[in-house]
């Protein structure tokens, strides 16, 4: 068996070109995920963050270039073997109608099961641990349809944990959650990375959350990586201008000391052009 920790980067992509049909999203992109890191990919809408994640998880086959997992081409593994090493929580989820929490979480065991080995003790242990780690043990017998958005996200996370992979990719795990639940989910992720040896790769929209939780940031623009490294080194006023086209100040987060991006104040402008719209604008003093 080959050394699984190739240069401390079990998962890396070399010169991958990803796209859908005629559209190319990323061109000749290379990126390496440091082992044991909480890597967060940031960038403007449509810059190819989710596409990169799908490419890394072999859900999208690169037109050229290669993704390597544990020193081998990811395409060289049987698909179940990849699923025992690397998990992905997609952005859009479909819960089967009428499924219970424990049943859904149990489906995370699929890559470990066989036709006649469908529910071994390890499967049960993994599911129990996943439920406990995400704090949803009490919800186990409930129907997924009945849960709130925050609870449901925990269930999906539990399913990915039951898969027992050391690398976990998360596509916008906090979208649609209110700020308290965002912090909840990210705290949970940070705990997995810090105490359970997970390597996490997440796409996040909120730069400040990214800075607070990431140990490694990958900033993307137009399908290319423009900067990567520790948040305090990477997130600067010029980078935010370059990547998001936003004028801002970067100050220290008073709570965590990580970079905090504060958009610069802009005078409110009237953007409407027709007379009718202008008439609706309240008169300014």
């Amino acid at each position: 068996m080959k050394d699984r920790h190739v240069n401390g980067q079990r998962l890396h992509a070399q010169g991958i070109t990803l796209g859908y049909d005629a559209r190319t999203i990323t061109d000749d992109l290379s990126v390496a995920i440091p082992d044991g890191s909480f890597t967060v990919i940031v960038g403007a809408n449509g810059c190819g963050k989710s596409t990169l994640l799908r490419g890394l998880a072999r859900l999208l086959r690169p037109r050229s270039g290669s993704v390597f997992l544990d020193g081998e081409l990811i395409t060289a593994y049987p698909t179940k073997e990849v699923a025992r090493r690397l998990g992905l929580l997609p952005q859009v989820q479909v819960a089967p109608e009428g499924i219970t929490v424990v049943d859904l979480v149990s489906r995370g065991r699929f890559p470990h099961q066989k036709l006649l080995r469908q529910w071994a003790r390890e499967d049960e242990t993994a599911v129990v641990e996943a439920l406990a780690a995400t704090g949803i043990t009490d919800l186990a017998p409930r129907f997924v349809d009945e849960l709130s958005g925050g609870q449901r996200q925990r269930v999906w996370l539990a399913m990915a944990l039951a898969q027992q992979t050391e690398i976990l990719l998360l596509d916008e795990p906090t979208t649609y959650l209110d700020i308290a639940h965002q912090v909840d989910v990210l705290d949970l992720c940070a705990g997995l990375q810090a105490h359970r040896g997970y390597t996490l790769v997440a796409v996040l929209h909120d730069l400040n959350m990214a800075c607070r939780y990431a140990t490694h940031i990958v900033a993307m623009k137009d399908g290319a990586v423009v900067a990567e490294g520790h948040p305090s080194d990477v997130i600067t006023e010029s980078l935010v201008r370059e990547v998001f086209g936003l004028e801002c100040r970067v100050i220290d987060d008073p709570e965590s000391g990580t970079p905090l991006v504060v958009p610069k104040h802009r005078p409110v402008r009237v953007t409407g052009s027709t007379d009718e719209e202008k008439n609706h604008v309240p008169a300014q003093a």
């Binding site: 698909t79 992905l88 479909v94 009428g98 489906r107 036709l115 529910w119």
Partner: protein
Amino acid sequence: MSVLAQGAGRTAVFRGGAVSLRVERRSVVVTALLGVVTVGSLLAALLLGYYTVSIDQVVRAVFSEGTPAEEYIISDLRLPRALTALMVGAALAMSGAIFQTLTRNPLGSPDVIGFDTGAATGALVVMLMLGGSGVLTSVGAGAGGAITAAVVYLLAMHRGSNGFRLVLMGIGVGALLLSVNHFLITRSTLYDAQSAAVWLIGNLAGRGWGHVQLLAPALLVLSVLALRMSRDLRMGELSDDSAAALGLSIERSRVLCVAIGVGLAGVAVAAAGPIAFIALPSPQIARRLTKVPGPNLVPSALVGASLLCLADLAGRELFVPRQVPVGVLTGVVGGLYLVWLLTREWRKDRR
């Protein structure tokens, strides 16, 4: 493992050596009860009718110890017809369960997404253009269904297949083929048109041991294959990305499931014509009874078998002295069911 106490109460686990299996208790009980209902349906089909017999007579007839009249009515007429009904119903229901799970849509059944219409086109081509009948018609039906399925699948494949597109493509191709079927009938002679029309309704009258012998092995093989795919089908209920991330080879498993589903539908159509509305409601009924997600293949098959057997019995005896083809009855019952299903979904959306 007290944490899973409540969850574990719903399931039973068997472990021994390298083998470990888990089943939902309710699902097992429901399946057993449905098995009883299926046997009951078979008995009803044997006992009831213009010439009502007793269980005693049935047993004697089956073991060739009855009077010639009893043996003829029970062993030669009722038993093979009832067995054909059970098997065709089971095949249609399993096909429906497979397609509904694959497309994640209760409308994804072979009669809605054009496969039955395609099978009918194949059968009509044989009957009306090539002048064949009997087994040849069945071969034509099987070929028509398979070709239609391949075309629908390839059309829906664009950028990776997708369940909803499969349903829409199937409805479209089915509508086209329906026109082809009508065209074939209008250009045939009155006699041929009449027999084609009877075949198109779907009928179990006159099915004998020959049909049973052809149907049984095909159904056995396809059922085993379908059961082997049931874990894949369960995973396929999640989103494509989730299932792939969990190690399911999506396209491979989808092609296999479509092939098995089309095979089941094709076998059923070949034996009894395109009987409507068994494939659509049976898996839905089974799912509501077992209250577990997934294809519910075995309960669906038992529901389909009982439904078709009882519908055929009703068609045979309710309108004496006439026999109404079973397809007419399933059409009426299934149509009502579909209306109920759609209004229910509609209300749920509006809430």
